[in-house]
Symmetry: C2
Subunit: 374 residues, 2 copies
DNA sequence: TTGAAAGCGCTAACAG
DNA sequence: CTGTTAGCGCTTTCAA
């Protein structure tokens, strides 16, 4: 009953708090209905015991029952429109065939493909998912996990894991409910994860720019509190220190969030330094859009005055002006993999955890071009 | 220092930190399954009967219990980390505080805001949602509804209702489980719906173009098997037959789906007729993108040679080339309204059904301009 | 104000 | 092969 999976306001952790939050709940309605037939009705209709019906209905135990009996039961089920009550079954079996997905925000375009990948994979295994939005809030994330557990989810896929010391995750590992991280790896717990190979992506971007003759490359980094922000930043530094590139830490600035505005602000500050550089790699597409805005305000143009590479390949960035060179992440496939791993761990809890890394693909478009000063 | 520039209020995490954390990591075998405490454990811990605990926990029945008792129980619940098993409660109460959402495809960018609106509203009432994708398939939709009912959802919000004679919907009304339609109204059943005012939107678009001097306007219509496709088409015809506009049915062509490709094909066929027109309204943004592609292939340019209006205001269409004039739908608000209506019907099953219409807003951008031939 | 007891619908031993 | 029985964890009469 205490249920609300997405929480944006005040952090609430105690049991009492949860109930307080729900006090405005409406009173239950007595909906009169043609109440759904139960297994009992079915049994009566066929003239056998309910356990016979149960066994006939379950493919795993069907072999225990005479095939003509099975046929009769199935026919009756069809006739009455019987649908088993999965709550009852879940209660009895102690597993709900439900998993929880925690993401920061469904409206962020990178998440729908993740989720679709998860859902499609889960569905084949007869599982369903609850989706909750944490809005990047550590506290609400913890509350969500609590509520997910109330729903007795069999497992969890988290895309919003805070980088380190995530209490929500600890909560799960403690109770031994399997968790798979997606898009974020965490190193202080023993948990499986599916991540994009950010390092590879950044190296690809740098290589691409280097081949175009760029040597002085700036980086609008993401918040270093996020996995992607940190990993891409580190990869950038590493990549720039190889080959004939000129690494200059003053060409790096950190955005305060993954928004267009944050990108614009961060890049403006780089621009204000009046330093020499001919290309920039943004930690994601949103930031890249901000770079574009900042550039426009400075009266400069992309790619003529500056080459730009994004990260994510969000929908429509191939049609903006100029079409953005960026790294395409296998979002859907990552979701599917995460689901697969979770399913396996559900099946065999003693399985060792693993981290799977999928490579992104550089989509070369019009926002990058040869360095003319070269 | 540049680095500090990026800090939020949260501390930075470096790899060094992580390794440090790693070293003191517990071995995986230490993960013990501590099975969640039940109400029984709680009762034992406090030394009272489970029904006392149940009553103390539930705000509705809490008044029946001594306030010091309540306090003790709550404290114990907190201490043990007790989270009630909502399956058990659902089973007992015959109501799950869960609702189902059926959409064609989560990856279609118009749906996430719908869902977020629904989720946020539901959350306040202590409800959660299951989301299922029907991929526009009538059969899978019906299957989904069946599964949802197995999950004992208390109600349903459907965005994928086939326009007419939807068996899935009939199934629900038959069983008296409340349904709210979103983005699609249905005429042969008595069901509440929340829709965008498509007619208003099309009229706004036509008016806008008329004011720019366009008189011959084409329409790339959506599939007439969909609610939006049909309603927008009809509105277009109606709008064109008022004022000084020149209506010509040969300037209308129907796309076979809501995809870019379908839009391109449909518009190419209009173009092939070599007729005179200076503007086009596409039934949605995807189709509008197709129009842009078709136009480019024909060596013409927007808005110089043709003004274009889309529908939906998808993310980033304001940044494509040219920024698309389109109609912004209140997706999030529609979702919230649908949830509100469902909640009310859940609360009071005898409530008369209603249809709510939200007005879209014309976002004038660069894809429309004055008709120079005028 | 609290306790006892009866299930919600289903599954899984254990018998026959 | 099929029936009996005992719950899963919780809510809710009905008693006390």
């Amino acid at each position: 009953m205490l249920f609300s999976l997405s929480c944006r306001s005040v952090p609430l952790h105690s049991y009492a708090d949860i109930h307080k939050a729900n006090r405005k709940m409406k009173s239950p309605s007595q909906r009169k209905a043609v109440k759904a037939p139960t297994i009992k009705d079915l049994a009566k209709h066929v003239g056998v015991h309910i356990s016979t019906v149960s066994r006939s209905l379950n493919p795993e135990t069907r072999n225990l029952i005479g095939s003509d009996m099975v046929k009769k039961v199935l026919a009756a089920a069809d006739e009455l429109g019987y649908v088993p009550n999965s709550m009852a079954s879940a209660l009895r079996k102690g597993q709900s065939r439900t998993i929880g997905i925690v993401i920061p925000d469904l409206m962020n375009p990178i998440f729908p493909p993740f989720i679709r990948g998860i859902q499609d994979t889960l569905e084949e295994a007869g599982y369903t998912a609850f989706i909750a939005n944490s809005d990047g809030n550590k506290d609400s994330e913890q509350l969500i996990v609590q509520k997910m557990k109330a729903r007795i989810v069999d497992g969890l896929i988290m895309a919003s894991a805070v980088f380190k010391n995530d209490p929500a995750i600890r909560e799960c590992t403690k109770k031994d409910i399997p968790v798979v991280l997606i898009n974020r790896d965490i190193e202080d717990e023993n948990i499986s994860a599916v991540v994009n190979d950010d390092r590879h992506g950044i190296f690809e971007a740098v290589k691409h720019l280097a081949e175009l003759g760029h040597t002085r490359i700036a980086h609008v980094a993401g918040p270093q509190t996020t996995y992607t922000g940190l990993v891409r930043y580190r990869a950038f530094v590493e990549a720039m220190q190889t080959g004939d590139l000129i690494f200059d830490e003053y060409l790096i600035n950190f955005a305060h969030g993954y928004s267009v505005q944050a990108g614009e602000k961060a890049f403006s500050q780089i621009l204000d330094q009046k330093m020499d550089f001919s290309a920039v790699i943004a930690a994601n597409d949103q930031l890249a859009l901000g770079v574009l805005d900042s550039l426009a305000k400075a009266g400069k143009r992309c790619p003529k005055d500056l080459s730009l590479v994004g990260f994510n390949d969000m929908p429509l960035v191939d049609r903006i002006n100029p079409p953005l060179t960026t790294l395409r992440i296998q979002h859907y496939e990552m979701g599917a993999q995460a689901a697969r791993i979770l399913l396996e761990e559900l099946d065999n809890p003693k399985l060792p955890t693993r981290t799977m890394m999928l490579k992104p693909k550089l989509m070369v478009r019009k926002s990058t071009t040869k360095n003319k000063d070269h």
